[in-house]
Amino acid sequence: EPEVTQTPSHQVTQMGQEVILRCVPISNHLYFYWYRQILGQKVEFLVSFYNNEISEKSEIFDDQFSVERPDGSNFTLKIRSTKLEDSAMYFCASSDSALGLAGITDTQYFGPGTRLTVL
């Protein structure tokens, strides 16, 4: 069964450093997402991406964050200058559609997450 994969599983970095989190969405999916979950809190939407551009972003997704689909398979989240409060689990998700039409799956499938620790 196809699945979303994420690397690395755990990333430790120093405050102020840049990190890139990588995701390989399910191969025939067209819509990609990043969510984050601070320990003990609920999952929060960061950004959605379709047709090589951002579709929507939350207030969390400020200028320190960027996303990219550098090739036909990877989807990356870059944090330019990490802060202590960026420590969280970051989940990538993908879906085959987002149109809300009857008969379309639209379900978002999540990767296993990358645990980011900023020291």
């Binding site: 689990m89 998700a93 149109l99 809300g100 009857a102 978002q108 999540f110």
Partner: protein
């Protein structure tokens, strides 16, 4: 603003019992989807079940079923014959489709479910 509320932070039942997790949501939209995701200690998010708002019939997936009350904006998850492997955090989530673009899931705070042997 669209919100999802899970009023039970923690629940605990004995193995083989039936348990129901509550979820309410708030939206002015008429077309939306609802989901329950499970997050075991590994912290991976696993889809449990999904419900389309336009469907009157409640979704079922093996031991998992939902009670979808659209007028009350309520979406509860029933787990029958609970198993030790059902121990996890359960998140209710809601999404509204757009004409163009992509959707964002709005999650509740989660219910920590423990199945005791």
């Amino acid at each position: 603003a669209q919100t999802v509320t899970q009023s039970q932070p923690e629940m605990s039942v004995q193995e083989a019992e039936t348990v129901t997790l509550s979820c309410t949501y708030d939206t002015s939209e008429s077309n939306y989807y609802l989901f329950w995701y499970k997050q075991p200690p590994s912290r991976q998010m696993i889809l449990v079940i999904r419900q389309e708002a336009y469907k009157q019939q409640n979704a079922t997936e093996n031991r998992f079923s939902v009670n979808f009350q659209k007028a009350a904006k309520s979406f509860s998850l029933k787990i029958s014959d609970s198993q030790l492997g059902d121990t996890a955090m359960y998140f209710c989530a809601f999404i509204t489709p757009f004409i163009q673009g992509a959707q964002k899931l709005v999650f509740g705070q989660g219910t920590r479910l423990t199945i005791n042997p």
